[in-house]
Structures are given as C-alpha cells and as structure tokens.
Amino acid sequence: MAEAKRKAKKPPEKLFNTADVQASRSAMLAKPNVLVKMIKRAKNPVLITGGRLLEDRRLVDYAVRMHDSGIAVIATGASSKLFIERGIRPDACVFSLHYITQFLLDESWQGFRGKPYDLALFLGFEPYYLSRMLSALKHFSKLTTVSIDAFYQPHAKFSFPNTLDLHHEMLEEFVSALGGGSIGKKED
C-alpha cells in the first residue's frame, strides 16, 4: 500500500517561490532533444553542480555521464568530492556558485582552463539561490544558461519544468539523448 502511495506525482506548474517575479523574459521550457542540439553547437559547455548532489547520489550519476559526453564540470557546494571519487577532476572545486557567477559575468574571463564557457548548465542547487545567480547572468551577461534542476528556473534562458519526484526521469531522457556523438571540444 505504501508503494502505491509513493508513486511520483507531476508537480503543479507554479514558481518555486510565487513572489520571484520579474518583468523580463521567463525561461523557455527546455525539451531534451533541443537541449542536446544546443549543447552540441556550443564551443565550451560547462555543467555547474551544487550541494544537492551530496543528498542525491543519482544526480551524480547523471552528471558523470554528462561529463563523459564531453561537457566540462565545475563543482560547487562541495560536490567535487563525488566527482573525484569517480576519477573525474572538475575544472574547479573550491569556488562557490557565487564566485563562479561573478567570474562568468566578466567577459574577459578565460575560464579555468584557458577557454571561456559559452553555455552553462546548472544542476543540484537550492532553488532560491540558483534563481538569484541566474538573474544576475540574465541581466548582466549574454551567457546562455540552462537549468536542468528539479524546479523550473524562471531566470535561466532555458529550463526544465518543475519535475521534483520526476526529476530523475527527465534527466535520464536528457542524458540518454546526449550520450553518443561528440559534444563540444575538449582541450586539444
């Protein structure tokens, strides 16, 4: 009986915080196959991960698969430990998302490995925290931002819808579409 009750529900189409409203554009819902095409076109896409990975190891699995398909990783919120355990060394480990956002806002920044990032995916953050950072990037930079996190992020350019308990399914769909075929260019 408990199992039946645990079946995941589709969450309501609300903002994670109804009052986090802005006048300007709201994120377009990202369909996985469209996302994949965008990523393949990008020169140096990066996945930025946050502290929620520490609470949900499945997210780490998806992140690793994304890395393996050629996307650079910046690990914040101490999520770096989880990558290193899997033999992956992220581009950066010690800087928080706040620092990373400040760096991304600066057009002169050449990234951590000498190549600027031109598309950023976000996974595993407290929604209200990520929202602020995406807002900063929306208004003060031209970076393409994509939220693949559990809540819809209005200030990204593209975002998954609210998924919550269905998050893993959505990520599976996306990461499967990603796998196979080269993406971006790793360091020469």
Partner: protein
C-alpha cells in the same frame, strides 16, 4: 568696552567692519583634553571616506543578483530595468540595486540607532549624564568604534549624546540620497551603504556600552555564567512570561519586579531573540527559549500566559496568533504598537483586569517601568484561570489534520526552503513521522505554508506536534554575553597568532534563516574550535550554538572555554554586541602597532584588511540589520561568508583572483608597489553547503602579512579541510605559497613536487628551497598598505 556673550552673530562697538561669530559656549568640565592627536577623519560624512571605499570596491567588485528587475518607487513607473535598461528617471538596473542595498543598510542601521537613542534617553533620565562608562580594568579601549569614527573617548553617559547626534544626522544624510533623481553611480551608492554600515557599528556600540554600564552586565569575563536555553527548559506548571524583541528595558522591569516581590522561583521569564540574550546578561537565571525561528513555535505551543513584545524581528501576526489562543499581549514600543490602545498612564489594576477577563486582547504600555507589574500579575492570574492545554493541539487532532491533506504541494512551493511537507504528510498518514521530525530541524516556523493550504491545515502545528519530543528535548546551555574582548586577551593571543598556533578568528553572527538544519552552525563551528581557531559569536547564532549537546550531554559552551584564545568560544552578546568583534580587530592595530585610533578610520581599516585574519560567518541572515552589520564589517576590511539565502540581499563583494592587476600593495619597508597573493579574495560571498562554508572560512583567514608560521598553519587547515570536504587539494593553494616555510610540514615533499610539475616552479631539491614561482617571496618585514597616505606617513 562691555559686551554680552550670546551664541550667534553680533557686532562689537569700537570695532569697525568686524563680524564675530561664536560657535559653542560650554562649561569648563566638558572641554576635551587631548587624549590623542586627532586623525584625518573625525565624524566622517558621505564623501570623507570615499577614497577608501573606492579602493575596496575596485578589488572586491560588486556583483548584483536582482530580485525584481523593475522599480516602482515613483509615479513615472513602474519601470522595467531588465538587461540593465534605464528607467524613466534615468537610473539603470545596477544602480537601482545598489540603491536598494543602501536602503536595506539604512533600515538596519536605523533600528540600532533608534534602539540606542531609546536606551540613552532612559539611561540619562534614570542614571544621569555623569554616570561613568567603565568596562573593567582589563578593557582600556572601551569604545573602539566610537573612538575610531567619531574621535571621541566616551567616559560618561552624557558624552554619548554627541555620538548619536552624529549617527542620526549621518543616516538622514544618506537617506535623502535615495530619493528619485539623486545618485547616478552605483559605486557611490555602495560607498554610501558602507558609510551607513560604519554608522551602524557606532550606534550598536553606543547601545551596548549603555546597557553594560548601567545594568551591570558582564564586562568581558571569560567565565560568564551559563544560561539555560531551549524549548524544554521551561517549567510549564508555573506561569510563563514570554518576552520577544531586542530592547532590554521592559524585560528588565519584569525581572526586577519578580525579584522585588520574591517571585523569581514562582514565575518563568523566558525570552526570544536578542531580548532573551540581554535579559540573561542582566539576570543569569532568566531563560531563553530560542531564536527568531522559535517565535511562532513558542506562541502556538500555548505555553505562554502573557506575551510582551518590544521592537525588531517580532512577528507581525503576534497579536492575531496570541489572541486566537487567548494569550494577552503587552506591546511596549512605538515601533510595534500593534493597533493596541495606549493605556500607559492608566491604573494597572484596571488594565490587568481587562486583559485577564479577555475584554482587551492586548495593550500598549510605552513606559518600560510599568510593564513589569502588569505583565507579571497578568501572567499569574491567567495561569490560575486557565487550564493547561496540550501544546499545539490535542493528540487526536493531529491525525485529523493530517488526514485533510490532498498532496496538492502548495505548501512546498510556498515554503522559503521548499521543504517537502507533502512527503512528510504522506508518510505520516501511514504513521511514520520521521520526515516531519527531520523537517522540524530546518523549519523556521514562518507559517507561509498555512497561508496557501486549500484545506486550512495547521501545518506548523502539525510539524511541531509530531516532533514534540525532540523539540522539547532540545535544551542546551549558552554562555551569557560577556560584551567586550579584554585588551589583555588580545595581547595574550598576539604571540600565538604570529607563531602560528592560532590560525584565525571565526565570528558566527546573525539570524537563523539557515538553509537546512539548525545544527549545521554547531557542526561548522566545532570543526574550527577543534582546530584551535578563536570563535566569537553574537545574536541568534550565539543561541543556536548552545542548543545542541554531544553524547556526554555537553553543549559547545561547556566543551570549550569562554576565553578569547585558541579553541575558545566567546559569546559577546546580542546583535548590538557585534561592535565588540569589530572593535577587537580595531584594537589589534592599536595594541600591537600603536596605530592611533582617534578619527583614523581608513588607516585602521587598511591595517585590518592586510593583517587581521578574521572572518564572519552569517549562515542565515535574513534582516536588514544583518545587511548593515555585514557592510560595516566589510568597510573595516573584515570579510564574511554568508548562507545561500543571503544571495537575496542582491549584492555581494567578490574579487577576481585571476585579475592580477587588482592584487597589489605598497610595501612600506621596501618602498615598492608589488603584486600580492589574493587574500582575502572576497568581502562578502555566499556558500551553499556547510562543507563549502567550512573550506571558504579557512581560506578567507589568510592575509598578506602572515608570518611563515602563520601561513603554514592556515594553509595546513585550508588544505586539510579541502581534502576532507572537497575531496582534493584546493584549486588555488599554490597562490598562497611564498616560500618553502609556508608549506604544511607533513606534506612538504609532496607539495614541492606538485609546484614543480603542475605549476612550473623552480625547486632546489638539495636544500628543499623554492627558487622561482611565487607571486612574491616571503619577507617578515613586509609592511603592506593600499593607501598612498599611509605609505607616505610611515615610509621615511
């Protein structure tokens, strides 16, 4: 020749074409003697420290994370400012955000300034202008912030009037720049915000000096008494008086009344928020229920027989909530009158009768010295009259409330933390309350969930009722706020800091809007106490640090000594006690380098920025006061790591370590301008998880003037903690190595190898020396400053 002496303008006979204007006429005793030559900026106003602010802002560039992208302050709007567009008045998004930052700081600073003024008026009236300000024989510099900013040495209460006059003027002068059509440059707004933050520390110091002096609080004693804290410390068989807020005056009167009438053991007085901290400084037998996030819990539990509110950080639905449960409310501040009738001058017997009978839900009593009698007698009568109901709800009600839930998830989306209340409800329907118990540790009891629930479930009550056992069993001990750090304690730690046995100072301060469990603050801080950092705390953090006990039943305050020393946990007091922490940093400059403090803000801030390895931790700031306090610390050169909710303050100050041109100093010793390692590389930055926060705190303790032993110990902990929590060496450790003596001993060989292989440094392997590679080589005489005038002053 005779003349009358009046203030103002007048013309003298026998003098032609002469105008004499007299400034002030005072009595001789008030004439100031020169206690120190005055520095360049006594009582600075907006533009006086602008140069210093610019230096900071160039290095620590503001980053704006807008909440709203529109402004609706004037009738030409609302104006959409996205992508940094300009509004109708010409202001752009960046500047508008900086304007909001200034507003937030103003609100916070005003709260403290008004609080200080209120205390001063009361103190002058009841204790007199000549009442001495004396913090004991080990505190020589009694008012570091006031001395530094105002250039005044306050020896008596009367001297503080001048200080508050200056603060209040300063606040108005900044406030008017918020008006539409004023400041154009966002950096100038930030400079004004800094100005306000600085004024805030002066106002807070004034407030705390007054209360310590006249109410005889602890004066820097390391072994201040331990106070009972927590939900379970109250004896609910006795009448319970709950005081909520920040102003000691009504609570003190209650406490006095109890003692005068021999009722201390008959009636429980317990507090929430800073009033609680200050009441326990006044009377160590007073109890503390908890922080701001305990307010709704405490009220809803029904344990209070009367609630007394004063000012700041009190729920705006206190009266509504209390009335629902039949608890009378006594408001005591103009700041929060709650729509209640002002019955200050009426007969207490009549008031008490009205409250007890329920004729009045509450009253406003503006005179704090009348609150005691009314509050105590009401509490006692209420207790006699009413029975004891089970806390929050009856046992049967719990099941009924939970049954109402339809899993619509509205609450999840209303909760500031997006807690999965729906999951907790679903599990509870099967009799499993474990998720609720876990939630309770993070819930700030704000009540937003209830506001959106379509079935009107009393969600907060459900959370509390299902976790009642753990809620009640969380009791702890907090050391009473001791106020200042003693000058001798600072002298005492000079050698260990230089010799590297004390790695730094961590200051957990501020509000309880933590990202997850309240326990995290204790976990973060204990990591540093074990490593022999000094910890100094105030406010809600100080309370939460005492709330958790280890397996042996000891709270952190019982495990670690209260001295300002290695592995010591110092509680300075309430929110207005924060200047004792900034003051300690200021005193370092005076005690060790004999730098003059009087009216010498920029030079001292520059000294602190380059030398004093102290970092604040505001893991859950929520208020405008917190914004202002942090900004005040920042202007002094002290960085802070904040929790993720703090991103909502919109502005952070984060330097870009990779921009080498930003990281330079003048070295007074070699008379050269040189590049320097980027530390601290931010003044205000958020961390998301406790693991991340721990590593950042260790990282931000490094300073350019570290001795090699100091740098070695700081790097040892930074690297250790990074390996422990991040799983690897930190990305930037090599930037902080100036010589082989900086390297942690147990890893020396390994690190030398990495420097050679990964960063192309040149190593002499025979002598194990670094030949080439560091940003600069270590020199113990290194005497850094980023101010040209300081450089000119000290280089010969």
């Amino acid at each position: 020749m005779g003349f009358e002496l009046r203030e103002g303008m007048f013309v003298l006979d026998e003098m032609r074409n002469v105008n004499i204007k007299i400034g002030r006429v005072i009595e001789e005793e008030k004439e100031e003697k020169e206690w120190e030559p005055a520095g360049p900026t006594p009582k600075p106003h907006i533009l006086d420290l602008r140069r210093w602010d610019r230096k900071l802002l160039e290095r620590y560039e503001p980053i704006y994370a807008p909440m709203q992208d529109f402004c609706n302050l004037c009738t030409m709007g609302p104006c959409e400012l996205s992508q940094n567009k300009e509004g109708a008045c010409g202001i752009d998004l960046k500047t508008q955000k900086a304007r909001l930052v200034t507003i937030a700081c103003l609100i916070g600073a005003s709260a403290h300034a008004a609080h200080a003024r209120h205390l001063l008026e009361y103190a002058l009236e009841n204790f007199g202008h000549d009442y001495p300000i004396n913090l004991g024989s080990n505190v020589n510099v009694e008012a570091p912030n006031i001395r530094l900013v105002c250039g005044i040495k306050p020896e008596k209460l009367g001297h503080l009037e001048e200080v508050l006059d200056y603060v209040e003027q300063g606040l108005v002068r900044v406030l008017h720049t918020i008006h539409t059509g004023q400041e154009e440059d966002y950096l100038d707004f930030e400079s004004k915000a800094f100005e306000v933050g600085m004024l805030d520390h002066v106002a807070m110091e004034t407030a705390d000096l007054i209360q310590i002096a006249v109410f005889n609080y602890p004066k820097g004693e390391p072994d201040a008494p331990l106070i009972d804290i927590g939900f379970g410390v109250l004896d609910t068989d006795k009448p319970v008086l709950l005081v909520i807020g920040h102003n000691i005056l009504p609570a003190r009167n209650i406490d006095d009344y109890l003692r005068e009438h021999g009722l201390e053991d008959e009636v429980e007085i317990a507090g929430l928020c800073c009033t609680a901290i200050d009441t326990s400084r006044y009377d160590p037998k007073a109890k503390i229920v908890g922080t701001l996030s305990y307010e709704l819990r405490a009220i809803r539990s029904g344990i209070a027989d009367v609630v007394v509110t004063d000012e700041q950080c009190i729920r705006a639905d206190t009266l509504r909530e209390c009335s629902r449960l039949g608890i009378p409310v006594i408001a005591s501040s103009e700041a929060a009158a709650r729509g209640l009738p002002d019955r200050t001058d009426e007969n207490p017997d009549v008031i008490i009768n009205d409250l007890v009978s329920g004729r009045e839900r509450g009253v406003l009593i503006r005179d704090p010295d009348k609150v005691g009698e009314i509050a105590v007698r009401v509490a006692m009568e209420m207790r006699r009259k009413k029975g004891r109901k089970p806390a929050f709800m009856e046992d049967g009600e719990l099941k009924a409330e939970i049954a109402k839930c339809t899993a619509c998830m509205g609450c999840v989306f209303a909760c500031p933390h997006n807690l999965r209340i729906d999951r907790a409800m679903s599990a509870a329907k099967d009799g499993d309350f474990s998720i609720f118990k876990e939630l309770e540790g993070s819930c700030i009891a704000c009540g937003r969930c209830e506001q959106v629930c379509p079935r009107d479930i009393r969600i907060v009550d459900v959370i509390m009722k299902s976790s009642y056992d753990s809620l009640v069993s969380k009791t702890g001990k907090m050391r009473a706020g001791r106020g200042p750090i003693q000058d001798t304690e600072i002298r005492n730690v000079g050698q260990p800091i230089v010799m590297g046995t004390i790695p730094g100072v961590i200051a957990p301060i501020g509000c309880p809007n933590y990202p997850r469990s309240r326990k995290e603050v204790s976990e973060i801080i204990e990591e540093f106490l074990k490593r022999k950092y000094i910890v100094a705390t105030t406010g809600c953090h100080a309370m939460d640090l005492g709330m958790y006990k280890d397996e042996e039943g000891k709270s952190l305050y019982e495990k670690y000594p209260g001295s300002f020393d290695a592995g010591g946990l110092v509680n300075c007091g309430s929110c207005v006690s924060n200047p004792h922490i900034s003051g300690a940093a200021i005193k370092v400059a005076n005690i060790f380098a004999l730098r003059p403090l009087r009216a010498n803000y920029a030079e001292i801030a520059d000294y602190i920025l380059n030398r004093v390895g102290a970092v604040g931790l505001a893991w859950g700031p929520y208020s405008q006061k917190a914004a202002s306090i942090a900004t005040g610390f920042n202007r002094l050169g002290i960085p802070a790591v904040v929790g993720p909710h703090a991103a909502k303050y919109r502005r952070a100050l984060i330097g870009k370590f990779w921009k080498k041109e930003n990281w330079w100093v003048y070295d007074i010793k070699s008379k050269k301008r040189m590049n320097v390692e980027p530390c601290p590389d931010a003044l205000l930055v958020a961390a998301e998880t406790k693991e991340e926060a721990i590593v950042q705190l260790a990282r931000l303790c490094l300073r350019p003037a570290d001795t090699y032993m100091g740098r070695q110990i700081k790097l040892t902990h930074y690297i250790d903690l990074s390996k422990k929590y991040l799983g690897c060496l930190p990305d930037d450790w090599h930037l902080y190595v100036r010589s082989e003596a900086d390297l942690p001993l147990k890893m020396k060989d390994e690190l030398l190898k990495l420097l050679e292989e990964e960063h192309d440094w040149k190593i002499d392997w025979q002598k194990k020396k670094i030949l080439k590679g560091p940003i600069r080589m270590y020199d113990s005489g290194f005497n850094p400053t980023i101010l040209e005038e300081v450089f000119d002053k000290y280089s010969r």
